[in-house]
Every structure is written in structure tokens, then in C-alpha cells.
Symmetry: C2
Subunit: 300 residues, 2 copies
Amino acid sequence: MAERDTLRTRFHEHVRDLQDRICAALQAVDPGLVITEDTWTRTDHVGEEGGGGRTRVLAGDVVENAGVNTSCVYGALDPAFARQLGGDGADTLWAAGISLIVHPRNPRVPTTHANFRMVGVGARTWFGGGADLTPYYPHTDDFRHFHGTWRDATAPWGTYAAWKDWCDRYFTNTHRDGEMRGIGGIFFDHVASDDPAADQAMVRALSEQFLPSYLPIVQRRKDEAWTEADETFMLHRRGRYVEFNLLHDRGTKFGLQTNGRTDSILVSLPARVRFGYRWSPEPGSPHAEMMAYYRPHDWA
Amino acid sequence: MAERDTLRTRFHEHVRDLQDRICAALQAVDPGLVITEDTWTRTDHVGEEGGGGRTRVLAGDVVENAGVNTSCVYGALDPAFARQLGGDGADTLWAAGISLIVHPRNPRVPTTHANFRMVGVGARTWFGGGADLTPYYPHTDDFRHFHGTWRDATAPWGTYAAWKDWCDRYFTNTHRDGEMRGIGGIFFDHVASDDPAADQAMVRALSEQFLPSYLPIVQRRKDEAWTEADETFMLHRRGRYVEFNLLHDRGTKFGLQTNGRTDSILVSLPARVRFGYRWSPEPGSPHAEMMAYYRPHDWA
């Protein structure tokens, strides 16, 4: 029990430290970035205090809107939801993690999302997480850099192929004929060997690869000139992003079903969005080319 | 059986005729309105042809985007979903209806949604529908006109209070502390007396009240001057509209779960939307006043 609690404390400390470093790194590439911090506490299913979080909302010149959040929640779980989570019938939850999303202003800079979490339901503990990229312009060298970073990061555990495939399947708008939200990355959940300390070491190591996977792309694209057609395409793709997050995303559902803080959960939504009936990009345009990449593809 | 089929045919003919009249009426107040029509056919759960629909997408000067759709779908139903629908275990579905949504460009003109449908699952037949208003400016006389029309329309059946209450409860963003999508209207479902012909006559009569409930508001507001603050407020409220439709709306879920046509279902989403972390209107503004009206209130 003491060992479990130490692991929990360490993980929570780690994600808070990582939150600081990610915010600082984004501010370094976007000096006008304004960071608004809200700390909040949570009331669980039966009305007891149950943890809280630190929400950071970012807006600047490079970053149109972003959320870099950490939270640590615990307490009673709605019984039906506990069963759905695959717990052992116990109705207590403990979960800590970092969740972040970055929506850049320049359509040549991809949106990204990453999440690393440690979850306990009853006596069971597992880890989950991943990182994925949603580009709006066919800079395929960026896609190769992103996937290559995650292939190398997962190499010690040999999980890239499986987790890349899981990501492709997870971030899919099933109601849009299998179109993916972006170009994938890695996704894993319910990772639980018989050595939670080793599992945690792996997830910590992976979480350190978020900045190397994404920041170089921001640096090389942030000053690239873009067109109105680029922006129109991005705004419509953001519409698909909203559809995924609200219709399919388990993280969003988990947050809202566990009495999470709505504003912190929905900070993932992009600031400006367009929806258009059967909208599609100009044939032969870079955006039409991009549409073909929202399908499973080997990038690394 | 012959009688049931006659009722079905009549209802489908009625909603198609109403669709024509609603489109013509909107075009009369918005002469630049362009109407794009798509007819489509559907494949059901087991791959058989199962009806189809007529989607009409409208865009003009008064109307930023609108969908006025009719459909008639039938065939095999996914068994789990059939049980969820409260059927008698039979797995055949028949459903016809009209569903419409109008998002005006001028923030002084409210958004509206209405739906009238006849549903059969196995041997059971029922009716559902309603109409609701989502205004962005505190023109409370408009709200009284809308609710007054529905109070009068339902007077022969004495259902206004119950259906107004049902609407208030249904169109609520439960994840937003009980905030309503708009200011309500009427909502009813699973209406099934022992006389389906009488039920249908009632629903037809109600459906004829959509234009009188909404069109006079468009006529008196469409040329009203509006401010940038009005538009910003509207765009953020449209964000809440999207949240409701994708997180909570049963019609959207029903459509996507019955292999409905995704583009026709999601035509309900507004063209331009904003999301903002903890965004709220200026204290003391008409928009702050409006926020108080997204709560159950007696308008008629």
C-alpha cells in the first residue's frame, strides 16, 4: 500500500513538473503567449471532496488556443460507470495525469494532443496515454518526424506497431466513413504488467518525448506564409475535431461522467470552427492531397 | 395492416409537402436563399435497401445555414438498439419525419429547430416531435410569441404545460450546470393512444404551426442592426448548440446508430462557431441578461 501510494505521488509530481516544462517550451517559441492558470477542486459522485487539478489555458501569436492540464482525482465512482471501466467491482477511483492540446493559428502548423495517465479502480492500477498529430497541410516530412520520434521512443518495449495501429483505430470518426481525426501517433491504455514501477518508468520516459516529437515542427513552420484556402480547410477540419471529441472521445466522456470540470475538459475544443454540409477542398489542391492522409499510413 | 400502411404513406406525403411549404416561406423572407437538394437512399443494418430521404440545405442573406430534411427509413434494426428503443423485441423499424434547423446570420434573429416524426418498431407505432427556439438577444416579446403559439396550438389536447416542461428538460446541457440550449418550446415523444389516426391528425395539426411560431419573428428582426458583441455572443452560444447536439441529442444518436446519412444529420450544426474557455458576456450587457433566460421560465 505504501509502495502504491509512493508511485501515485511520484506520478502526480512528474506530470506537474512536465506541465511546467511544456508551458515554458511553448512560451519560448511564442513569446506573446499568455498563460491563464485555474486550480480547482472536485466533488465526487457521493458529494465528497475528491481531488482537483491545475488547468492552464494558453493563447498567443503562434498558439491560437491550447490547454495544458494536470489533475489528480479520487473517491467514489458511480457503480454503473465503475463496471464499465472494467474495475473489480470496487467503486473507488484514483486517477492522475497530464492532458494537453495545442491549436496553432497558422494552418501550416499541426494541432497536437497528448495525454499520460495513471489510473486505479479498486485494487487495479494501469497506465494509458499517447500523442497524436492533426496536420492541415501535406508537409509529410513533419509526419515522418512525429511518427519517427514515437517509433524510437517506444523501441525499448517494441510497442510502436501495436500502439500506432491502436491510435489509428481510436482517433477515427466512425460516422465519417472511417476518416481519422489526424495522422495518428501512438495510443495505449490498460497497460498493467506485474511491475507497476516499471510501467510507470516507461510512461514517464514516453511523456518526455512529447516536446521532441512536436516542438521542432512548430519551430520550422510557425513563420511559414499561409493562404485563405489553408485557413478555410483548417477551420473545417477543426469541425471534424469537434465531432470526434464530443461524439467519440472516451477521455471526454470519462471526464464528464466522473463529475470532472467541464471547462477543463472542453478546453480541448478549437477556438474557431466551421461546419459545412458536404464541404470538401478544391480538387488538386494541397488540401485535397491532405484528405488522403487521414487514413492509416506507414509514416516511420 | 392496410390501414397502418395508409397512415404511413399519408404521414410521409404530409412531411414532404410541409418541407416544400417551409422552404418556400423561408425563400419569401430571404429572396437570395439558395436551396441545394440531395436525395439519398439508405442501406440498413443487414445491408438491405431501407428507404431514404430528401435533404435540403439552405444558405442566403437572412439564413446563414439551414437544413430542412425529410426522410422515410425502414428495415432491420440492430437488435441491441431495438431493445434500447423500447420495441417489442421485433427488429424492424419504420420511421418518417421532417427535421429542420435554421441558423440565421443576424444575431437578433433566433435559431430554431423543429421535428415531427412517426415511428414504428415491430407492431408498435408512436409519434414524436416539437419545436424550440434559441435566441441570442433578449427580445422577450419574441419568446412570448413563440411559446404563445405552441400553447394555443396544443390547447385542444391540453398538453402545453407537460410538453413545455419536457422541452426544458430535454434541451439541457447537463454538463453545463443545467443550462438550456435555448429558451425551449415543446417536446413530446412516444405519443401512442389507441387511435393512431387521431394521433397523426394531432401531430399534423401541430406541424402546421411551425411557420406561424417562427416566421413572424424572422420578419420583424431580420433587418435589425446588430453589433460585433452580438455576433461574438451568438458564435459562443452556437458552441453550446454544438455541444448539445453531439453530446446529448437523441435524434443525432438515433440517426448515426441507424446508419443514417451523416451529412444530413449533422447539417444541424451552425456554419461558424466559437469555443472559449470560461467565456462569458460583459456584465450588464443584453447578452448577460440573455444568459438568465437559458433556464426554465414561464413565457406563455
